[in-house]
């Protein structure tokens, strides 16, 4: 799967805050890719949260992988989904959902890249750097899955 993104027309976008423990999973995913040099050609970016300008950003790419932490207990380790453009009224000035970003790109720029969302389960969100051990484990599982999945 990572080979699929190993292309300059791809964007891998880590979302989160590494000062809030497991909220840093999205950034840690990018860190691991950089360290392993297993995806050298895609654009690797980090952001605290999505903003409407990201609708403009993603229109420059053929495919985008969003990577974010999730609190959802239904996600035991990680989940890879294909989000669809949808205005879900989640907007605040601090954050907006992936489906809303895709819908904004579609409505304003008439283009939506092929999009994937990797949600990795986190557990602790306090003011502290570093992932918890179970979150580290989930991150490794997600990377292994994406590296081996074809």
């Amino acid at each position: 799967m990572l080979e699929f993104f190993d292309d300059p027309r791809s964007l891998i976008y880590g979302i989160g805050n590494c000062g809030r423990q497991d909220d840093g999973l999205g950034w840690a995913f990018i860190d691991r890719l950089e360290a392993r040099q297993c995806a050298s050609r895609p654009n690797l970016c980090r952001t605290y949260q999505l903003n409407l300008e990201d609708a403009d950003l993603i229109r420059g790419f053929a495919r985008v992988l969003f990577v974010d932490a999730t609190k959802d207990p239904a996600v035991s380790s990680f989940a890879l989904t294909r989000p669809e453009p949808r205005l879900d009224f989640s907007f605040t000035s601090h954050a907006i959902s992936v489906p809303s970003i895709l819908a904004t790109a579609q409505q304003c720029f008439g283009y939506v890249p092929e999009a994937y969302l990797l949600a990795i389960r986190g557990y602790e969100w306090e003011l502290q750097t570093g992932l918890t051990e179970p979150a580290e484990h989930n991150l490794s599982d997600a990377l292994e899955f994406l590296s081996s999945y074809r």
Binding site: G19, T47, Y48, Q49, N51, L52, E53, A55, D56, G60, L87, D88, F89, F91, T92, S93, H94, S100, A103, T104, Q107, C108, F109, L127
Partner: protein, 488 residues
């Protein structure tokens, strides 16, 4: 028996607050309050840290106006190390202009967010429109071309922040006595003339006028409703230059009354001699006021409306033209119409874009004289920094011991300054929209939020909060019984 209504939390603001409105048996409004219920922590949290970390850490209070916190903190640090009036050593022109450039770019970006993303949906669809429509995403469906221009406007401001601060959020530019970088010729050319996916400054200034045009249209259609909505008195406060005109980065504090008479003008370093803070057991947010006038007469309004009330002129042509019309509307008296804050905000969007253009055209922002280094004996260990943040006057005050550890920190942010007038606004709207009504509709509750959003309050900043922002609306009676609850 009284009935108490709660809006908890208030939505489309930064941070978590709730509103309670108490009605008597005849449904008259007895009281209305804005409660800020977040934990306050940063002023303590920073103590013991090296002084130079303060502007870096304190900007993390907010993901929206972090530049303002960074700059207010940097100004305080300048004074701690002995840069400023005490030593007669001042920032280089490049450092000063780079700080101003970042400041005005953030002003543009923050006001665009507040106005187009948070306020405009209500202007276009109405206070009573269904929540799923009176939302920024409703605007995207209704007018994607407008939103495309707004997105590019914000992106332009964002890209300047990246060029100045190194990244989109919580970057670092200012250091004690200066800045750590200037712009390259490539940067300047991109912003002035545009690049792939980035508009030119002329296009930005053209689009910056969209907000004002939309306000004029809205005002023309709803003049009476707009003008009578929460017309509440307060003194008006802003930083000003030597001519008494607003200066967003530096100057003296000036406070004017309804007739624009100067009530007080002082060096912001002397703020403790002029301002006090009241407290209430029902809110973490304090109530600043001019000490000798008392809280009722001495509370101030800050932010766009206050600044346009205080200043005589603006330094750029398009903004000045808009300001003249704004001033003429109230015949030279101060404007107390809460929703005219949005009018003032649109003028500041234009002004910020024009100032950024002028700064980008100034060769100083490409020079290398970035820092001044005062002598070791210039250390004062005490510094106050004030800027006009998008939401209003922002003050940081630090003290550090000779080892360089922070021993004291005090922040007075714009939303705190506005606390009293915010509460007056809520009471006014509650009386007009809820008073005498037997049935409270969602639209009536939203009217209160509209009043609050005009100030674009940042409750996270105001309480220096560490925490999350839940989105729940609850209606309870005086006995605490929940009558209804909704999660937004």
């Amino acid at each position: 028996m009284t009935t108490r209504l709660e809006i908890d939390p208030v939505t489309r603001i930064e941070g978590h607050g709730k509103v309670t409105v108490e009605l008597d048996d005849d449904h008259n409004v007895v009281d209305a309050k804005l409660h800020v219920v977040e934990f306050r922590g940063y002023e303590k949290f920073i103590q013991g840290h090296p002084f130079w970390e303060a502007p870096i850490l304190m900007q993390r209070i907010c993901g929206i106006c972090f530049v303002s916190h960074h700059l207010a903190g940097a100004k305080a640090l300048d004074e701690i190390v002995g840069v400023g009036p005490a030593s007669g050593v001042y920032l280089t022109p490049t450092a000063l202009k780079m700080r101003r450039l970042g400041h005005y770019a953030q002003m543009l970006q923050s006001h665009v967010t507040a106005y187009f993303y948070l306020v405009l949906p209500e202007m276009l669809f109405g206070i009573d429109a269904p929540p799923e429509q009176r939302n920024f995403l409703g605007l995207i469906e209704a007018d994607p071309e407008l939103i495309k221009r707004v997105v590019m406007l914000r992106k332009w401001g964002q890209e300047i922040l990246v060029a100045v601060f190194g990244k989109r959020m919580h970057g670092i530019s200012s250091i004690p006595g200066g800045v750590n970088k200037s712009l390259t010729a490539t940067d300047v050319n991109r912003f002035l003339h545009g690049a792939e996916g980035l508009p030119s400054v002329d296009r930005v200034i053209e689009d910056a006028q969209l907000g004002l045009e939309l306000f004029y249209d809205f005002h023309a259609k709803h003049r009476s409703r707009v003008d009578s909505f929460a017309n509440v008195p307060a003194l008006n406060m802003s930083l000003v230059d030597d001519d008494g005109n607003v200066d967003y980065y530096d100057g003296r504090i000036k406070i004017v009354d309804d007739d624009k008479n100067v009530v007080r003008e002082f060096d912001y370093r002397d703020y403790l001699d002029h301002l006090s803070e009241g407290v209430e057991k029902w809110s973490y947010m304090k109530f600043p006021f001019i000490t000798d006038l008392g809280r009722d007469a001495g509370s101030v309004r800050v932010g766009p409306l206050a600044r346009m009330n205080v200043t005589h002129t603006l330094s750029t042509p398009l903004a000045q033209q808009a300001l003249e019309k704004f001033h003429a509307y109230t015949g030279g008296r101060a404007n107390n119409m809460t929703l005219h804050t949005n009018w003032a905000r649109t003028i500041e969007i234009i002004h910020a874009a024009e100032v950024v253009r002028d700064l980008l055209s100034d060769p100083d922002v490409q020079k290398d004289d970035l820092v001044v280094t005062p002598s070791a004996d210039a250390w004062t260990g005490d510094g106050v920094g004030v800027v006009e943040a998008p939401r209003g006057t922002l003050l940081h005050h630090y003290r550090a011991d000779r080892d360089g550890s922070v021993t004291f920190a005090n922040l007075i942010v714009a939303t705190t300054q506005n606390n009293e007038v915010l509460n007056r606004t809520i009471r006014s709207v509650a009386e007009d929209y809820l008073g005498g009504q037997t049935e409270i509709t969602e639209g009536m509750m939203n009217a209160i939020e509209v009043g609050i959003r005009a100030y674009d309050p940042c409750l996270s900043c105001a309480t220096h909060a560490l925490g999350q922002m839940p989105l729940i609306v609850t209606v309870v009676d005086a006995g605490g019984r929940v009558l209804s609850e909704r999660v937004r």
